[in-house]
């Protein structure tokens, strides 16, 4: 398996304030890797650092061997990284189909065949293709956000808390969808609040506390680890 993404001793933050300290993390091709941890641990910050949205002060980010440390978001996209933010992740006044077209903005090819494939993955989107994305339910919006991110066959998909604010019913659906996207060939790095459910579908997990990497292990192993379960998985918000 080849290494898709590697974070090598990353320290990063907003301006001078460091949030992440010496983070090591990697994602191999075909894997789904989950970052869990308590609120304010810097989980989402890891993604933002990869995507060039904040300042990395030490360490390196590599994408398939290419260094992309502090590369601005608009460039990172062209290198094959797709990022789905936690909220406001679709263009609400554009139609579902236009959102998908925008997902392929940087490509010169006709997006229609890929849109068709996305509709096959997410049938509810096809029914609502001409409706504004703002009229979709929470779960469907997440589907659209993921579909939009998948438009260009990214090397890696970064998902920032895809189940945030969703009801338990939708939550399960989204995890199933994420799992399915992964099994059909996409490499995924996901940040999640619902740690237990997320780790169940993960190949590997990282437990982040106070901007530091506390535990690393196989997804199942972390769920079964008593100490981790007691510390981080007991509470729903962990």
């Amino acid at each position: 398996m080849s290494r898709v993404l590697e974070l090598d001793g990353i320290s990063a933050g907003y301006g001078e304030t460091a949030i992440l300290h010496n983070i090591d993390l990697h994602v191999d091709e075909g894997e789904i890797v989950v970052i869990v941890g308590p609120n304010g641990a810097g989980k989402s910050t890891v993604m933002k650092a990869v995507f060039g949205m904040l300042n990395i002060t030490a360490g390196a980010v590599r994408l398939g061997g290419d260094e992309i440390t502090n590369t601005p978001p608009q460039k990172v996209v062209t290198k094959g990284v797709a990022y789905v933010p936690q909220s406001a992740n679709v263009f609400v006044s554009l139609s579902v189909e236009e959102n998908l077209e925008m997902g392929a903005y940087i490509s010169k090819d006709d997006p229609a065949p890929r849109i068709e494939e996305i509709y096959q993955k997410f049938p509810p989107l096809r029914e609502k293709r001409h409706q504004p994305a703002g009229s979709l339910s929470g779960g469907q919006r997440q589907m659209l956000a993921m579909g939009k991110a998948l438009m260009l066959h990214p090397k890696i998909l970064l998902l920032d808390e895809p189940t945030a604010g969703l009801s338990p019913k939708y939550r399960g659906e989204i995890f199933e969808t994420v799992h399915e996207i992964n099994t059909t060939g996409s490499t995924i790095l996901m940040v999640e609040q619902n740690a237990k459910q997320a780790l169940m579908i993960a190949d590997r997990g990282y437990v982040l506390v106070d901007g530091e990497n506390r535990y690393t292990g196989g997804g199942q192993d972390l769920v079964n680890d008593d100490e981790i379960a007691r510390l981080f998985l007991g509470r729903r918000t962990s």
Binding site: A88, F91, V92, S93, E98, G103, Y105
Partner: protein, 295 residues
């Protein structure tokens, strides 16, 4: 009834067309560049004077040389954007507003310096109304309404059928997500200036065809254009069109003798009508008719 149509409603629609074309630019600039562009009225003035020079140079009808004036004004705006606005992209909005205020004064002074301050005209001579039964309309009004309709269709097609148009709407909707999606925001900004400037020139030329050419003409339009953009919902180009038409028509028909033989409002209060509508809208429905961005 025919008097109302010929002398109040049609001129109202014509004025509304002019406001609408100008307001689209204001609304787009606000949506995409996130600031109120005070220089928009004087961009219009500049375009009118360029048209005037081209008319004097070629002897052609103003509408025939207008595309060239649109292109020239767009190029000038792209240059001004690089110098005056680009350094402030990441700055608080107020910086951009003040920059546009400065630019407004500079463009106007430049126009006054180059072309003089005397009244001029794009076309000379008096036009007679054409009558259809008892309904009369000025040929230039037919021209203005027709050309506006054509431009609106063009704007609609650009915004809904082209990649750059969709990217403009996406950026107006959520600029941060647009950048994360890989949309070239600088390209979108350039397209916004080109579209805004071209439509402003059209609005100015239509106004000059209907009245005359003077250096304050664009500035005088600034208030009703902002009122139109706010009425329609700021950041919503279709709202700006609706807002422009409502305000243009409201201004004209407010002078109709609805009660008795006197005008309901003396024509001198026309600008007050636009202002009144804008204030009422900001109080009761700040998001505008088309649910635009709230202040």
């Amino acid at each position: 009834m025919m008097e109302f149509l010929s002398f109040y409603l049609v001129p109202g629609v014509v004025l509304g067309c002019i406001y609408a074309l100008g307001a689209i630019g204001i609304s787009l600039t606000f949506g995409i560049l996130r600031f109120s562009n005070f220089a928009h009225g004087d961009t219009m003035t500049l375009g009118v004077y360029l048209t005037l020079s081209l008319v004097q140079l070629t002897g052609l009808h103003p509408l025939l040389v207008m595309p060239a004036a649109m292109a020239l004004t767009a190029i000038i705006m792209l240059g001004l954007d690089q110098v005056f606005y680009k350094p402030f992209r990441a700055s608080p909005t107020i910086m951009l507003v003040i920059a546009s205020f400065g630019l407004m004064l500079m463009i106007r002074s430049m126009v006054q310096f180059l072309w003089g301050v005397q009244l001029q005209a794009l076309r000379t001579g008096i036009e007679r109304m054409s009558f259809y039964g008892s309904f009369g309309i000025l040929p230039r009004h037919i021209l203005i309404i027709g050309a506006t309709a054509a431009l609106m269709v063009a704007v609609h097609l650009v915004l809904t059928r082209t990649k750059i148009g969709k990217a403009m709407r996406a950026t107006s909707d959520n600029a941060e997500l647009a950048a994360l999606t890989g949309i070239d925001t600088e390209m979108v900004i350039r397209a916004t200036w080109v579209m805004g400037a071209a439509l402003a020139v059209a609005a100015g030329v239509f106004l000059a065809l209907d009245t005359h050419v003077e250096t304050m003409m664009g500035f005088k339009l600034l208030l009703p254009m902002f009122a139109a953009a706010i009425l329609g919902g700021i950041g919503k180009p279709y709202g700006a069109v609706a807002g422009g038409l409502v305000i243009g028509i409201a201004e004209e028909i407010s002078a109709y003798p609805w009660i008795g033989a006197e005008p309901l409002l003396p024509p001198g209060y026309k600008a007050g009508v636009a202002f009144g509508i804008m204030v009422a809208m900001l109080i009761w429905r700040p998001q505008g008719l088309f649910r635009g961005r709230q202040f």
